[in-house]
Each structure stands twice: as structure tokens, then as C-alpha cells.
Symmetry: C2
DNA sequence: TAGTGGTCTAGACCACTTG
DNA sequence: AAGTGGTCTAGACCACTAT
């Protein structure tokens, strides 16, 4: 619906579909920007905005002097599908579930306060949840919320499937996220809740999410059983949002 | 030098520096686009191009109706630092090393051919390398090259530190990459070369890189010892290049 | 040399946030 | 109501690729 009321997004969606439908062949050349502008009855600037979306997603190349070339089909995954375990699970045809193990209100630890940009001594709401796919536990979620958000979370039933959707109902919008992906080892809680040996390796994603105004809304550490998920990123010489860090070696378990 | 000859990149670099230097404070508001345009003596469009770079990197927010707000300092990591183990290692003050264990020319397997977009039966150059940080093995790199690139690789000494830089000398440019990050278990080769138990968990990054024309130049599977690296990605509701996949469960070892 | 995408300008109008 | 960023247009010139 957001794609409908803005011209360049409409064009982008149409082009994405054309590429996915093989209209230009795989590794085929796209029409020139001027041709597309004429075809869609818009200015070249609008076409370029549309194509910038495709380029960022790794759908097409762009290079001075030559037509754009198809790089691959679009993952076509929305921001929501990435942030919400529930939305993601449904998109792959699985039945998502969630069960709150504990929710405590306590003074935030140093890193939590930094990430949530709270003053020293501020209270945080810390939730521990088990996430399931078709009833099978696959992920442990440890999330810290600032009071403003935590107060809403605290009123949700323990078996609420999607916190994200409920928060959205209350006007909490997720706009930006910073993800760090590495490996961690199961602690006693992880082992008990996921049914794996203590010390087993898990794929870890830590994430800080902010709202449109730039205020942190959550700081989460998710731990997945091996073989359940993989993360993919596209980056290019033009837009690089991915980077490699020296590991902080601050793993919780082990 | 590329940043020098284009106006909006110069402006972006300057703004990035100003943000990092705390000129606007953390979570402070940036000047209006029109103000910046006047200050730099450029059009608003150019300012918007510069700010789009910062936004993509998670440095600032952007939202209709209000000034932009500082989200965080820029990782300031270049595309090269991400693709090249060597460049990355140097940037964190470590001494990179590499030793070729084997290089074989053989008919490509199905997935390799698909990734490199080669016809059935085509030959690939498959390299197995150990990468070290200050002499300590931290990563195993299994890379497939198409003949065009492999022929260059085959002529490099076994202890060549940076393949990327040598390939660049030969006009092979890396422009786009698709990364998949998950977890794998050490096979016999991994265990022997990294000095870890067989079956130990490793952080895996699979990557297909293409040149500016969209032709694949490498397909690589890298396996890192735990605690040596972490990957970070920024994404926003506006630009989402990250996605979550159901794991393909096609791990090599175990 | 012709055609392409990259950069830059100037101006217009609109949707939205904030006081 | 004023100010802000988002969208869109029209046109210009340039750097680069291909033939």
C-alpha cells in the first residue's frame, strides 16, 4: 500500500517483477533509462530512483557507459520480515510460536544502557522468550526494552506470538536496525530451553532497533539452533552496509 | 581519490567526519538540507545524495517533517575491507597471512557452476587456503574461480598474502557481493588446518562476488574459528539488503 | 562516434512534524 | 503556521563503454 502511492516505488515493483519474470533474461540487459522514462511516462530522475532500489538489493548492476545488467532475482524480503520472527516464519510457510519464560524489571547493565541510550541507573524490561517453528524450539530471544516500550510488553500474554505486531498497534515503529552476527555457546538456560547440550554452538544475532526518530526501542540477543536460519546480505562498491568486526569475545555462555 | 573528484562524496565524507567528531552531539539534530546546501555552495540535490550515503550506513535517520538525527558513528568500512581479508586484517592492526594448501583444476560441481554462471562441464579452479592473523590460523577459505580468473590465481606464489590485490593488478574488479552467513562444523581438513577438533562449530560465510559487468569472479566458502570475527549489517525501512533464510542444511562437514 | 549511466542544478509541490 | 524532508520534473554536461 505504501508502494502504491509513490511513483518510483511503483516503477521499482514493476521492474522487479519484470526481472523476476525473466523478461530481460538472466544476465540480460535492461532498457536505457531514457527508454524506461518514456515507457512509464515519468522523468529520468524517477526512473533512477526506482533503479537505485533494485541496485541496492543486488538485482541489477549499474555502470557508466553500458546498460544495466540483471544480477539476480530479488529476495523481495521486506524490512518487517527481517525484524519479526513471526512475519518471517509465515513467509516460509512455518507456524511461528513464542513463549515468555521470564520478564524482569531491573536496573540496566552497562551495555544495555549504552545500547538503549538510557541514563545510568535507568530501569529496563528484560524478556527471555523461546521461539518455535511448528512447535519445535529453534531460537532463544533475550530482549531489553526501555520503560516506554517495556510497559507495553509487560501487559502482553505470555504466549503472544508477535510482540512486533502488538507494539505496532501501540504506535511503536521499527525503522532502523544494526545487526551483529557471530557464534555463541549454549549456557544452561539455552540448553534447557532449546534441548541442546550445554556448550553447544548456536548462531547468534545481536540487534539494536530504533524508531523513526532515532530512539532505541529494543536491544536483543537471539540464539538459533544450527541449521535453522542463515542470514544473507547484498553489498556493492556503491552501497556497503555490511562490515566485518574483530569479535568482541564477550560470549555469554562459555 | 575517488571521493575527491565527486562533489557529493566529498560532502558526505565531510559530514561523516563532523558526525564522528561530535559536532552535532550524539543523537543531535543536523542542519536542514537547505542550510547545508548553502553552506557547501551546492544544490539541495547534491546534499541529498550525500545524506543518502550516511543514511544507508546508519549514521543518520531521515524522516519527513523533522531534521535528521545522528544515529551512530559510521563504521567507515570500505567495500575493499569487507572483501579482502588482507585489507581487513591490516585495518584492525593485525598481520595477515595466507598459505595455499591446494589448487585443483576440475569440472565444476553443480552449485559451483550455477554460482559462477558457467555452462555444464566447464572447468573451475578450486583453491583451499589457510588465513592467519599474526601467524595464528583463524580461517579456512575454499574458493572457486572461473577459468578467466583462475588462470591468474594459478600463477601466484603459494604464500601470496592478498589474492584480491593481485587480481586487481590484472584488471579483475570486485563490484558486488552476496553473502550468506551461518554455522558449519569442521571437517577433517578444517580440523587439521585450524587446529580444532573435528566437528567443532565454525562461523561460515559463503560469498559470490561479481565484477562491474555482472560476471561472477569468485564463489567462496570461508570458515572462521569462533571468537575471531563478527559481521555487522545496518538496514532500515528504506534500504533493506539483509534477509533471513531458512537454512539450506547443506553443510560440508557433519 | 554514438549511446549509456553518473553528476549536478533549479525549481516546484506535497506530506509530515513540531511549536 | 512554519519548517522540514520526500517526491518529481526538465535540462545540462560529463565519463565511460562499445562499435
Amino acid at each position: 500500500m505504501d508502494d502504491r502511492d509513490v511513483l518510483y516505488r511503483r516503477v521499482a515493483a514493476d521492474l522487479r517483477e519484470a526481472v523476476a519474470g525473466g523478461v530481460y533474461g538472466s544476465d540480460g540487459r535492461l532498457p536505457a533509462e531514457s527508454t524506461l522514462a518514456e515507457h512509464y511516462g515519468v522523468s529520468r530522475g524517477t526512473i533512477r530512483q526506482a533503479l537505485a532500489l533494485l541496485r541496492a538489493g543486488g538485482v541489477v548492476t549499474s555502470r557508466r557507459g553500458t546498460r544495466r545488467v540483471v544480477l539476480g532475482a530479488a529476495p523481495a524480503q521486506s524490512f518487517a520480515e527481517l525484524l519479526s520472527f513471526t512475519t518471517w516464519a509465515r513467509s516460509i510457510g512455518e507456524e511461528p510460536g513464542g513463549m515468555l519464560e521470564s520478564l524482569t524489571v531491573r536496573p540496566g547493565e552497562e551495555e544495555e544502557l549504552t545500547r538503549l541510550r538510557l541514563r545510568a541507573g535507568a530501569q529496563v524490561y528484560a524478556a527471555l522468550r523461546v521461539r518455535t517453528l511448528s512447535g519445535r524450539p529453534v531460537m532463544i530471544e533475550r530482549t531489553c526494552y526501555p520503560a516506554r516500550v517495556g510497559e507495553i510488553v509487560a501487559r502482553l500474554p505470555a504466549d503472544t506470538v508477535s510482540y512486533t505486531e502488538r507494539l505496532l498497534d501501540h504506535g511503536i515503529v521499527f525503522a532502523d536496525a544494526e545487526h551483529t552476527i557471530d557464534l555463541a555457546f549454549a549456557d544452561a538456560d539455552d540448553a534447557r530451553l532449546l534441548g541442546c547440550p550445554e556448550g553447544a554452538a548456536l548462531l547468534r544475532e545481536r540487534r539494536r532497533t530504533t524508531d523513526p526518530a532515532g530512539r532505541p526501542v529494543e536491544w536483543s540477543e537471539d540464539r538459533y539452533l544450527p541449521g535453522t536460519v542463515a542470514f544473507t546480505v547484498h553489498n556493492s562498491i556503491a552501497t556497503s552496509t555490511l562490515s566485518r568486526l574483530r569479535s568482541a569475545a564477550q560470549q555469554r555462555g562459555q
